[in-house]
Structures are given as structure tokens and as C-alpha cells.
């Protein structure tokens, strides 16, 4: 049994007033090092509107980061001096792992450029401090990347009612029984409502999290909303659902961000049970002024070696291109922001339980506006 508890022991890194830098132009960034770290940074940063990648350099023209850059139409070079002498560059990200590189950069960079050296995950951390909007952008880009995996679920959920609508409408062109005509027309109306609900849920989910937003949120309501979204991302067939909701469980936070956290955790739980099915348990509790949210699966579990790393940015056990490695990183960032904690309890082949704890938004026993 491996148990890790991550407490909210540091304040959120971004959006702190004194670091807020309002920029109208994007920050121009050069990436040095085209290995896995360089590639991960490139994949992430190229999606972010407030950052412009002016180029990526590696001595190996076949480095994975350079290959990816060619696909993304980002300039590549094997010549570091060329890249760092580019005039607009404001930030040099050095993920070469070469101890001499940092010294070289300091000696040769333009005076206006800043340097960050280290591993990709460390650089991301520093970047967030550097670029105030980045955290929100990270969250949004990870969410959009996830929506790609909804395609099968959305197609299934839209094409089924469409099949009903088409079949009934075709039949109506020849149907003579008036009662049947009425019934089928009503079925068509229901099917259209069902289809438009899918679009409504998804557009709500895919929008950018509203920036202002610490309000009281019903955790039970958000869990149900998250379940609906998570059904698109993964097949819930062969999964038994158990819900134990404590009424009155409410927390303070941004509702869109909390939804994102819950969708993420439910999707992970369902993915863990993908091949053989299992039980998904959603539980909320109210205890000693604390709101608890527990999401448990009976799936494959997390390898003990991986547990300390699961909240690290870019850590993923999914195949390249399947996961951004930012899901749980963003989850933890949001939970920290809400002054909460996240605990992971996992056993290989038995399952995983993720427990979130938040300060209660309201005195116990009172309701909240739905």
C-alpha cells in the first residue's frame, strides 16, 4: 500500500499581484535543447497565445524536439549563436542539460534576454512565475487537448439520436396512422433536445474558465456535471456507479476550475478500469468543517514508483500524443488555490482512491443556492 499526501504548503505561484506583467505583445521565447524536455515545452508553449516561439536549437538535427518543431512550422537550427542573437528574444529556455550551456548563454545573450536553465518541469514552474497568464493558459490548453478524446463519445451520442430522427422522419413521409404520426413527431422532438443538450454541455465545458470566480459551489452538483462530461471522454460500459453524497457539501472556488478537476479525476478512474470494468464510487462528506470528496476506482492502480511523480508537469504513462502530462499538475494547482489537499491511495490491480479535502464553504447543515 502506497500512500502519499500532498498538502497545500505553498501559495499558488501565479497571479500574485507583484508579478503581474501586463503585456500586449507575446513573449518571444527560444528553446535550447531538442530532447524530450524541449519537445514537451514546445508542445505546450506553442498553443499559448501569450508566447511566441522564435526557434528551437539542438546539435542533433534529428532530435525529437526539432522533428516536432518542423511539424509545427517552428524554426529549427543546429546553431545556438544564431538563435540567441535573434533580436526580439526575451527568454531563453535551456533544457540541454549541458552545464556549460548556461555559462555560454550568459556570456553571449543579448542584454534584454533572460535565461532559465534546468529540466522542463522546473522551467515550467519558473515560467509560471514569469508569465502571469500562463497558468490559466495551461489549464485551458490541457482541457482542449482532452476534448480531442471526446470525439468517439460525442459521435456516438449525437449519431444515435440522429439515426432515430432520420428513421422516424423517413417513416413519417409514408405513415398514414395519425396517432403514430403524433407519437413519432414527439420522439423526434425529444431526440433533438437530447442532441442539443450534448452541444450545450460541451460548449460550457470547453470555454475558458471565468477569471473572476470565487463563489460557493455545490460539490455534489459539480460531480454530477463532471460525470456527464467524463462520459464523452471514456466508455462507462461495464462500470458500476456508486454515489454517496452528503447533502450540503459546498466549497469556495471557481466553479469551472472545480469542474475541470472532477472531470480529470473521474476520467482517470474510468481509464484505469478500461479493459475489465469495475466500480466507480463518488463520495462527499462533511466532517469537522471540512468537505471531503472521494473518487475511487477498482482499476489497475498506480505503480508505487510513479506515485511521487504523478503531480509533476509532463509526467505521463500514456503513449506519446495521448496525454499532455499536465492533467494532475493542473488538478493540484487548482486544489492548492482552493486551499485544499489531495491524497492518493493506490494498490496495483486493486484500484485507486483520490481524496480531496476543502474548507467547508458554509456552516454545517445549511443549504446553498443551487
Amino acid at each position: 500500500m502506497v500512500k502519499v499526501v500532498l498538502l497545500c504548503n505553498r501559495a499558488t505561484v501565479s497571479l500574485q499581484g507583484d508579478r503581474l506583467m501586463e503585456r500586449s505583445d507575446p513573449t518571444k521565447v527560444a528553446i535550447l535543447g531538442g530532447g524530450r524536455g524541449g519537445r514537451a515545452l514546445l508542445d505546450l508553449l506553442h498553443q499559448i497565445p501569450s508566447i511566441e516561439i522564435v526557434g528551437i536549437a539542438d546539435s542533433d538535427p534529428a532530435a525529437p524536439g526539432l522533428q516536432r518543431a518542423r511539424e509545427l512550422k517552428v524554426p529549427v537550427t543546429t546553431n545556438v549563436p544564431d538563435l540567441i542573437s535573434d533580436h526580439g528574444v526575451g527568454l531563453l529556455l535551456d533544457v540541454t542539460g549541458d552545464p556549460e550551456m548556461e555559462a555560454y548563454l550568459h556570456a553571449h545573450k543579448l542584454p534584454t534576454a533572460e535565461i532559465l536553465s534546468g529540466s522542463a518541469s522546473r522551467l515550467l514552474w519558473k515560467l509560471i512565475q514569469h508569465e502571469s497568464k500562463l497558468e490559466a493558459e495551461l489549464l485551458h490548453s490541457e482541457k482542449l487537448a482532452g476534448i480531442g478524446s471526446f470525439a468517439a463519445g460525442i459521435a456516438h451520442d449525437i449519431n444515435n439520436p440522429l439515426q432515430l430522427i432520420l428513421g422516424l422522419a423517413e417513416n413519417l413521409t409514408v405513415e398514414r396512422d395519425l396517432a403514430a404520426v403524433h407519437e413519432q413527431a414527439r420522439d423526434i422532438i425529444e431526440a433533438v433536445k437530447q442532441t442539443s443538450a450534448i452541444c450545450r454541455d460541451l460548449t460550457r465545458y470547453s470555454r475558458r474558465a471565468s477569471p473572476h470566480g470565487n463563489v460557493m459551489v455545490s460539490v455534489n452538483g459539480k460531480l454530477d456535471e463532471a460525470l456527464k462530461i467524463a462520459r464523452y471522454a471514456s466508455s462507462f460500459h461495464d462500470i458500476e456507479m456508486i454515489k454517496h453524497y452528503q447533502s450540503g457539501a459546498a466549497v469556495t472556488g471557481n466553479p469551472d476550475e472545480l469542474l475541470h478537476v472532477l472531470v480529470n479525476l473521474i476520467t482517470n478512474a474510468v481509464h484505469a478500469m478500461e479493459r475489465r470494468g469495475g466500480t466507480l464510487t463518488l463520495e462527499t462528506t462533511l466532517l469537522d468543517g471540512q468537505v471531503g470528496v472521494r473518487i475511487s476506482d477498482t482499476g489497475c492502480g498506480i505503480a508505487p514508483d510513479n506515485i511521487p511523480e504523478i503531480f509533476e508537469p509532463f509526467f505521463t504513462t500514456k503513449a506519446p500524443g495521448k496525454g499532455t502530462g499536465l492533467g494532475l499538475y493542473n488538478v493540484k494547482t487548482i486544489i492548492n488555490k482552493m486551499h485544499g489537499t489531495i491524497a492518493v491511495d493506490s494498490q496495483i490491480d486493486k484500484g485507486t482512491t483520490v481524496t480531496l479535502t476543502f474548507p467547508n464553504a458554509e456552516p454545517v447543515g445549511q443549504g446553498w443556492p443551487s
Partner: protein, 144 residues
């Protein structure tokens, strides 16, 4: 419409063939049944791959079933597993895949396994009827 098939009518009763529709959505089963019954097919239903296997293994179905129309994304035994089961245990029963999610790789794999057609929802009645008619023809030939 069944005007082209009038030769198959027996004693005024339509008898175009027995079709098993496998789909977890009752609405889909209902509408496929409605479409095919109007053309004279007898339609039986199963809500997932497991039930479909039960149906084909029960009683006269192993002899009388002419076509299986099968969804892919289903609980219990999914469509891909059901198709594999039917192909290996009942190779003479033609299959038509009717899915909500077009996937070229899957389509190729099914057609290689000898599936008569791979249809993507929503499919028009005419397309469905023509696929089923081809499947029934194949079944008739296999019986000769």
C-alpha cells in the same frame, strides 16, 4: 419498400428474412426494426454482444437467422468481440456493422473479416435495406 421483392411473399405474408439487431440503444433497435419490418423482414433484438450470442445459440435461430446488424460501442461483449465470435462460430451468417463512430481502421478490419457492409449512423432506410438485402442474398447462396 418491398415492391422489388414481391416474389418472396408467401401467402400474402412478407417473409424476406430474419434479422437480429444488436444495439444498446433501444431507440436504435426500434427505428431499425420499424424500417426493416416495413420491407417485410422479421426483426429480433439484442441489447449487447452477450445477449446477441445467446440469441443466435438459442433454438431455431442458428438455422433461421439470416443477418446480424451489429453496433460497436456496447457494454458487456462489445461489437468488435461479437463480430469476431459470429465470424468464427457462424461464418455463414452475414454481418452488417452499424456504428455511431466512423473509424477507417476498424472498417477495414471488419471488411477483411468478411462483414457485408460497414454503415455509419445516421443511415438512410434505403442504404440499410440495400445492405440487408445483399446480406440475405449471401445467406441464401450459402444455404444452397
Amino acid at each position: 419498400m418491398n415492391e422489388f421483392k414481391s416474389g418472396f411473399f408467401v401467402g400474402g405474408e412478407a417473409c424476406e428474412g430474419r434479422v437480429l439487431v444488436v444495439d444498446d440503444e433501444p431507440d436504435i433497435r426500434k427505428v431499425v426494426k420499424m424500417t426493416l419490418e416495413k420491407s417485410g423482414y422479421e426483426v429480433i433484438e439484442a441489447e449487447n454482444g452477450e445477449k446477441a450470442i445467446d440469441v443466435i445459440n438459442s433454438g431455431e435461430n442458428r438455422l433461421l437467422l439470416d443477418v446480424v446488424i451489429c453496433d460497436i460501442r456496447m457494454p458487456k461483449i462489445n461489437g468488435a468481440e461479437a463480430v469476431a465470435y459470429f465470424r468464427s462460430n457462424y461464418p455463414r451468417v452475414p454481418l452488417v456493422v452499424l456504428t455511431g463512430f466512423p473509424d477507417p481502421d476498424m472498417a477495414t478490419s471488419f471488411l477483411r473479416q468478411g462483414v457485408v457492409d460497414y454503415l455509419v449512423k445516421p443511415v438512410q432506410g434505403e442504404t440499410l435495406r440495400s445492405a440487408v438485402a445483399r446480406a440475405v442474398e449471401q445467406r441464401e447462396l450459402a444455404r444452397l
